[in-house]
C-alpha cells in the first residue's frame, strides 16, 4: 500500500518496522501540515465562493485529512519512510498553495 512506490525491490519482502513514536509523530505533525495545506489549496481554488462558506468548508476539511493521514501512517514500512513520503507530500501541497 503506502509503503511501496519508488523502491524497485519487492516491497512484500521488506521488513516492517513498528516505529510507534516516529510514525505517530509523522502522522500528527505532517498530517496537520498536509491538512492545513489542502484546506488552503481548496480556499485558493474556490475564490468565487463567499468567504463565509468557503472558510467553513476549508475548516471542515482539516480533521478528515489529518485523521486520515494519522490513521494510515502505520502502513509505512518504517518511521523514516513515513517522514520522507509525508514530508514530500506536505512540501508539494504547501508549495502549490504558495505558488497559486
Amino acid at each position: 500500500m503506502w509503503g511501496g512506490g519508488a523502491d524497485m525491490a519487492d516491497p512484500a519482502l521488506r521488513p516492517i518496522q513498528r516505529d510507534w513514536l516516529s510514525k505517530t509523530l509523522a502522522g500528527l505533525v505532517l498530517g496537520a501540515i498536509l491538512a492545513l495545506a489542502c484546506s488552503g489549496l481548496f480556499a485558493r481554488l474556490n475564490t468565487a465562493m463567499p468567504l463565509g462558506v468557503r472558510g467553513q468548508l476549508a475548516m471542515w476539511m482539516v480533521p478528515p485529512v489529518w485523521l486520515g493521514v494519522l490513521g494510515g501512517v502505520y502502513f509505512f514500512s518504517s518511521g523514516v519512510r513515513a517522514w520522507l513520503w509525508l514530508g514530500a507530500a506536505s512540501a508539494f501541497v504547501t508549495g502549490v498553495f504558495y505558488l497559486l
Binding site: I16, S39, G52, A58, M59, W60, L67, G68
Partner: protein, 551 residues
C-alpha cells in the same frame, strides 16, 4: 495485505478503544437521549401559571415589553407553539458576559406576558435544565460543564475514536466478506463478542465516521479557524459574517410598526413552502440592522441545526434578507456544511429519523461496551481441559471488567435517576436544577465504587437491576403525580412527554432482560472468568490499602 499490518493495526485498535471506549459509551448513551431533548424538557417542565398570550395579541406584547425594558430589543423570541417546555409566548435570555458561549447554567431567563388589564409584565422564569444537562454529558463525555478545556478532552476522545474506526476496519478487512452479517452464538464466547462487536461496527461505519469527524470539529473548530485565518484567509476571517451597513441608517425605529408575527410567518412560508415555523427570534429590532429569524423545521430537507433552520427577514418590510440557513433553500456549499450538522444531530427526515438515530446511538453505546467485553474475554485464563484448579484471573482484567460495568451502568442509572430527580426535587425543595448534578454524579460514582467493591460479576447484576428500577421510576413518578395531586408534582400529557414515559418502560424491560441473562452467566457460566460468582472480587489480591481476604 501483509498480516504484519493487521497486527500493528490491532494494537492501535486495542489501545485507542480501551482508552476512549468508556467515555464514548457515555457520549453515545447521553447523545441518544439528546435526540429527544425537547420531549425530555417537556416531561420535566412544571405547568406554566397563567395563560399563553394569544398569537394575535403578540404585537401589543412586544411593544409593551420593549417599552418596559428597552434592552430586550437586543434579542428576544416569540414562540409559536405552546409545548410544555415553552414558558411563555415571549422569552429572552441574559447571559453573563464572561461566561463560556456554551455554558447554559449562567444564563438567566425571562418571559413577557400581558396581565388581565393588557399591561405588559416581565417575569423571571426557571426552565428545567434537565435536557441541557444530559446534552452537556453528551457533548463533553460525562464531564459536568461544557467549557473549552472539557471540549478539548472530548475532541481528543473523538480523535482516538476516529483512529479506532480506521484501525478496526483494517483489522476486519481480511475476513470482511467471509464473516459479513455473522453472529455466532455458542460455546466460543470470544467469537460471539467479536461478531457482536464487528457487525455493529462495520454496518454502521458511516454513522460512526460522521460522528467521530463532526465531534473533532465541534471540539477544535475555534483553533482551526485561528490557524487558517493566519495562513489561508490573510486575517480576513473576522469579516466573513459581518453584514453590510445600510446606506442610510434609520435611527430609532418604532417596533410598533413591525409586521405582526403571523404576517412574518406567512411571508416565510410563501418563500419556502413545506417549512413549518416554530419560533421568531428578533434581533436589534430598534436598530438599523433589525432582523427576525423565522426558525422552523422541514422534514423534507436537511437542516443546519438540531432545532431546524431559519429564514432571516426584515421585521418591518417582511423581505427575506438571508436564506443561507433555511432548510431546503441552501446553496450547494452551504448544504454541504449543513449536512455535517444534520447528520450528527438527526436534523433531517423528521421523527422517523430521530428514532433511528436514537437506536443507532444506543447501538453505538453497545459497540463500545462490547469492545471492552471483548478485551476482557480475550484475556481470560481458562481452566485446563483435564480439570484441575480454576486459575485466578489477571488483576488488570478484573479491574477493567469492573470499571466497564461501573462506568457504563453508572451512566445509565445516573441519567435515569436524574430525570426522576428533576420532578421530585421540584416538588420537595423547589429548585430542581440545583439537584441535577449531585444526583447524577452521586449515582455515577456510587455505581463505580460498588463495581470495584463487589467485582464485575456481582455488580453487573446489581447495577442492571438498579438501572431497571431507575428507568421504571420515570413512568411511576408520572403515574404517582396523576393519582396524588397533593405531592405538588405534575404529569404532562402531550404525546412527546408521554413518549418519555413509554420509552422508559421499554428501556426497563430491555435492561431487565439483560439483568436476567447476566445473572444466568454469573451463576451457571464457567468459574474461570471474571463474570463468575466465584471468590474473585476485583480488588482482592494485593491492592495496597484494601483488606485482602484469605484466598
Amino acid at each position: 495485505m501483509r498480516s504484519e499490518f493487521v497486527r500493528i493495526y490491532k494494537a492501535v485498535h486495542t489501545w485507542t478503544g480501551i482508552v476512549a471506549g468508556m467515555a464514548l459509551f457515555i457520549a453515545f448513551y447521553a447523545g441518544a437521549l439528546t435526540v429527544f431533548k425537547e420531549p425530555l424538557a417537556a416531561w420535566a417542565s412544571p405547568p406554566v401559571a397563567g395563560r399563553m398570550v394569544p398569537l394575535a395579541d403578540t404585537p401589543k406584547l412586544i411593544a409593551g415589553v420593549l417599552a418596559a425594558d428597552p434592552a430586550t430589543a437586543r434579542d428576544f423570541t416569540i414562540h409559536m407553539g405552546d409545548a410544555e417546555h415553552v414558558p411563555g409566548r415571549m422569552g429572552w435570555q441574559v447571559r453573563d458576559t464572561d461566561a463560556d458561549d456554551h455554558d447554559e447554567s449562567s444564563v438567566r431567563h425571562y418571559v413577557g406576558t400581558l396581565d388581565a388589564t393588557g399591561q405588559a409584565r416581565i417575569e423571571a422564569s426557571h426552565p428545567s435544565q434537565l435536557a441541557s444537562f444530559i446534552d452537556v454529558l453528551h457533548r463533553v463525555v460525562g464531564l459536568p460543564v461544557d467549557s473549552d478545556p472539557n471540549r478539548w478532552v472530548m475532541g481528543l476522545v473523538a480523535a482516538l475514536y476516529a483512529l479506532a474506526l480506521i484501525s478496526g476496519v483494517v483489522v476486519l478487512l481480511p475476513s470482511l466478506v467471509k464473516d459479513f452479517f455473522a453472529l455466532r452464538l455458542g460455546k466460543n464466547l470470544k467469537r460471539m463478542w467479536l461478531d457482536a462487536h464487528n457487525v455493529v461496527g462495520i454496518v454502521s461505519l458511516p454513522f460512526h465516521l460522521v460522528m467521530a469527524l463532526t465531534a473533532v470539529v465541534f471540539a477544535y473548530h475555534d483553533g482551526i479557524y485561528i490557524v487558517q485565518d493566519k495562513f489561508v484567509h490573510d486575517g480576513k476571517w473576522g469579516t466573513a459574517f459581518q453584514r453590510q451597513q445600510p446606506a442610510a441608517a434609520a435611527p430609532g425605529r418604532d417596533p410598533a410598526s413591525m409586521l405582526p408575527p403571523l404576517e412574518l410567518i406567512a411571508r416565510a412560508q410563501a418563500f419556502a413552502p413545506g417549512f413549518e415555523p416554530t419560533a421568531l427570534q428578533y434581533q436589534q429590532v430598534t436598530g438599523p440592522r433589525a432582523v427576525v429569524r423565522v426558525w422552523g423545521k422541514d422534514a423534507a430537507a436537511v437542516s443546519p441545526r438540531a432545532r431546524g433552520g431559519f429564514a432571516a427577514l426584515d421585521p418591518y418590510t417582511g423581505k427575506v434578507i438571508n436564506s443561507d440557513f433555511l432548510p431546503g433553500r441552501q446553496s450547494t456549499p452551504n448544504l454541504f456544511v449543513s449536512s455535517f450538522f444534520a447528520l450528527h444531530m438527526a436534523a433531517f427526515g423528521g421523527t422517523a429519523v430521530q428514532w433511528m438515530y436514537f437506536l443507532l446511538g444506543l447501538a453505538g453505546a453497545w459497540l463500545f461496551y462490547s469492545g471492552n467485553l471483548l478485551w476482557v474475554e480475550s484475556r481470560r485464563r481458562k481452566r485446563p481441559r483435564d480439570g484441575g484448579e480454576v486459575p485466578a484471573q489477571r488483576r488488570d482484567v478484573r479491574l477493567m471488567a469492573a470499571a466497564t460495568v461501573g462506568v457504563c451502568l453508572g451512566c445509565v442509572c445516573g441519567i435515569s435517576l436524574t430525570i426522576v430527580g428533576a420532578k421530585w426535587a421540584y416538588a420537595l425543595v423547589g429548585d430542581a436544577n440545583a439537584w441535577l448534578l449531585p444526583v447524577y454524579y452521586t449515582t455515577f460514582f456510587g455505581c463505580i465504587v460498588w463495581a470495584f467493591l463487589q467485582g464485575a460479576a456481582k455488580a453487573a447484576v446489581h447495577l442492571l437491576w438498579l438501572a431497571v428500577m431507575a428507568a421504571l421510576a420515570i413512568p411511576l413518578t408520572s403515574g404517582l403525580a396523576a393519582v396524588a395531586p397533593g405531592l405538588n408534582m405534575w404529569v404532562n400529557t402531550s404525546l412527546s412527554s408521554l413518549g418519555v414515559d413509554i420509552t422508559a418502560c421499554v428501556g426497563a424491560a430491555a435492561l431487565g432482560w439483560m439483568a436476567r441473562a447476566t445473572a444466568r452467566r454469573v451463576r451457571q457460566g464457567g468459574a474461570d472468568s471474571v463474570w463468575s460468582e466465584g471468590p474473585q472480587p476485583c480488588l482482592q489480591g494485593g491492592v495496597p490499602g484494601v483488606g485482602v481476604q484469605a484466598k
